[in-house]
């Protein structure tokens, strides 16, 4: 309990039959941090989470959760953590308040259902069957179940996947509130935007390993090209080769636009405009955007997150 680290993992390996889901993962998360594991489907995020949650035993490696070891202090750890799955499937016939009461009964100390209902804005749904809830309400209930024991450490597996922007915003506010209450949050996501606005630190994960670790700002600043010029065309984009040759910079082609990484925005942007002018390209719009975690991922793995 005295450890200042909420999570400490060293050299985790896990294979399922012939698939290596996690291959040598190290991770340290200090207490009070919101940490995001970022990566595409199949990167090993869920397996990593399940090992840290004590559900899956690693093939090798060491895990300490809140300074404790699952093998000897599992029962204590379980009373101190809260877990939300991608989709927590409860009994269809359970009502919202009953679900909170039931999960509360598992713990020596539990928060009152009425308090959680207020926190989650589910007061008017207290007597509703859980299968009648909307996607956002269901995710909030799942979060409520994860918070029922007033946990020091909360695991959230893709908490906003499949939610509309408004419901996502509500959930983000709730997660920020968890941090303000001094809890540690470990979440997984494949939304870059979510990681950028929510997480103190991010680990970029691919093929069972963490490739890069840092604050979102550090990771983006670490790119050679922190910003991009996007050249948009009315129809499909023309052949980019003459343009790229003249410009002397790599051009990334999309359906209706080109993206040009700007190492030195002031100099390179002028060059881009000059080349467009010289080649008389049918450009419709030009805008400059800051690089995102998406670009970090692309650069580290050579793949897009949504592949």
């Amino acid at each position: 309990m005295s450890s200042s680290l909420a999570i400490e993992a060293r050299g985790l390996h896990k294979s399922f039959r012939d698939v290596q889901a996690v291959r040598g993962l190290d991770l340290e998360i200090p207490r009070g941090e919101i940490f995001g594991l970022l990566g595409p489907n199949g990167a090993g995020k869920t397996t990593t989470l399940e090992m840290l949650e004590g559900l899956v035993r690693p093939d090798s490696g060491e895990i300490r959760v809140l300074g404790m070891d699952w093998r000897s202090q599992g029962a204590t750890i379980r009373t101190l953590i809260g877990v939300q799955f991608q989709s927590t499937e409860l009994d269809d016939h359970v009502k919202v308040r009953e679900a909170l009461e039931m999960f509360g009964s598992f713990y020596p100390r539990a928060r009152a259902p009425s308090e959680l209902l207020r926190l989650l804005h589910l007061e008017d749904k207290a007597e509703a069957y859980q299968r009648r809830l909307s996607g956002g309400q269901r995710q909030r209930l799942a979060l409520g179940l994860a918070l029922v024991n007033d946990p020091a450490l909360v695991f959230l597996d893709e908490p906003t996947t499949g939610l509309d922007p408004q419901a996502r915003q509500v959930l983000w506010d709730l997660v920020r509130q968890l941090k303000s209450e001094g809890r540690t949050v470990l979440l997984t996501t494949h939304y870059m935007e979510e990681a950028e606005v929510l997480c103190d630190r991010v680990g970029i994960m691919d093929r069972g390993q963490i490739l890069q670790l840092g604050t979102p700002r550090e990771l983006i600043a670490g790119l050679q090209q922190p910003s991009f010029a996007e050249v948009e065309f009315l129809g499909s984009a023309p052949d980019s080769r003459p343009f790229a040759e003249r410009l002397g910079l790599p051009v990334e082609c999309k359906d209706q636009s080109w993206a040009v990484p700007l190492g030195d925005p002031k100099r390179d942007l002028q060059a881009v405009l000059a080349c467009i002018e010289a080649l008389n390209l049918p450009m419709q719009q030009l805008h400059v955007r800051r690089a995102s975690l998406e670009d970090v991922f692309l650069q580290r793995t050579g793949r897009s997150l949504r592949d």
């Binding site: 949650e53 559900l55 927590t88 499937e89 009994d91 009953e98 024991n149």
Partner: protein
């Protein structure tokens, strides 16, 4: 601490169980409907139940009148019809047998599809034809062997419903285990419900214990309702001790709930489980003698059925309910059921996976 969690699990488990309309129907309403339906159709009637269509072309002769009177005396209901009307009804396909002709020259036509049903009709028609002939020639009626109706154990003087009711008690134990336990287990595992519980301090033996006790309570309530309906509708009562009946029900429920968990451990999805469950359920039910005695079946089939868990269970339930037998009289059957329960319980616990 564990006791508190257990009671909470028991309470919520019962509430959730009773909220599923299908579960309530199959476990509580269905046995009552079967008892009322089959009990009424196959038992308790005083007449012979034989309905016969008699095709006659002309007016009734003296022989016809004697034959008709003899049939009526044996409780057969006879419809006299003209040839065209009778042919129409025969073509309809629902008549097991039809009597044709008049004045002493008769033919009994039997529907080959329904030959089994027509057997009783034929027996009565042949027998009463001889009676009518004897009367026509001035002899007295032939003598009959007296018939004494009683139950094998000699206690329950009841009708078919008395045979059926203990069978339904046993069948209900099989249904709650195979359908209402296994399917829940597979669904929860497939949807990650168990995984979620595994991250909490809820001990799995407390959870599973509550699940088992919920089902035992449901099955005992269902049995009590069935006994009540039996008493009110057919006047049949438990001849043995209620404590024995409850004990056998609890052991039987344990046996089939274990079977449900064991079967569920082989299925990844509810769809696959339904297939496995029916594969096990149908033969167990058909071979157990719930509805009818297997006495006419081949010997190897009967011996095979004897060692399956449902057959001895129903035999014990019948012995208690109908003949007032004590448990000590039925120890071979009870040992067999107990053995199955132990084996299935060990297999189920060994194969049970939380995550």
């Amino acid at each position: 601490m564990h006791a508190r969690i257990f009671w909470q699990q028991l309470r919520i488990g019962l509430i959730l169980y009773l909220r599923i309309p299908a579960a309530v129907f199959w476990i509580i309403a269905f046995p009552i409907v079967l008892l009322l339906g089959l009990g009424t159709v196959f038992g308790g009637k005083q007449d012979s139940g034989v309905r016969l269509v008699w095709e006659q072309a002309g007016p009734t002769t003296k022989e016809d009148a004697l034959f008709l009177a003899a049939l009526g005396a044996r409780g057969a209901v006879v419809d006299i019809a003209s040839p065209s009307e009778a042919q129409l009804r025969w073509k309809g396909g629902k008549l097991p047998a039809m009597l044709e002709g008049q004045g002493g020259h008769y033919t009994l036509r039997i529907n080959s599809y329904l030959a089994g049903q027509a057997m009783q009709t034929e027996a009565i028609v042949q027998e009463q034809f001889m009676v009518a002939q004897a009367r026509a020639q001035g002899f007295g009626d032939p003598e009959r062997i007296p018939v004494a109706m009683s139950s094998p154990g000699g206690h329950q003087g009841g009708p078919y419903a008395a045979y059926l009711l203990p069978g339904l008690l046993g069948l209900n134990l099989l249904m709650i285990g195979v359908f209402s336990t296994g399917i829940v287990d597979v669904t929860l595992r497939a949807k990650g419900g168990y995984k979620r519980l595994a991250t909490t301090p809820l001990p799995r033996h407390v959870y599973l214990g509550a699940q088992v006790v919920v089902r035992i309570i449901v099955v005992l309530v269902s049995a009590a309702l069935l006994l009540l309906v039996g008493a009110l509708a057919f006047g049949i009562h438990n001849q043995g001790s209620y404590a024995s009946l409850v004990m056998v029900q609890i052991v039987g429920a344990g046996c089939f709930i274990s079977l449900g968990y064991f079967l569920a451990s082989f299925a990844q999805t509810p769809e696959v489980y339904s297939g496995i469950a029916n594969l096990i359920f149908l033969p167990l039910m058909l071979l157990s003698g719930v509805y009818f005695s297997l006495e006419g079946a081949p010997a190897w089939l009967q011996r095979g059925a004897d060692v399956l868990p449902l057959t001895p269970l129903i035999r014990v339930l019948r012995a208690i309910f109908n003949d007032g037998a004590g448990l000590s009289n039925e120890w071979t059957e009870i040992a067999l059921i107990g053995g199955w329960t132990l084996v299935l319980f060990l297999l189920a616990t060994r194969r049970f996976k939380w995550v």
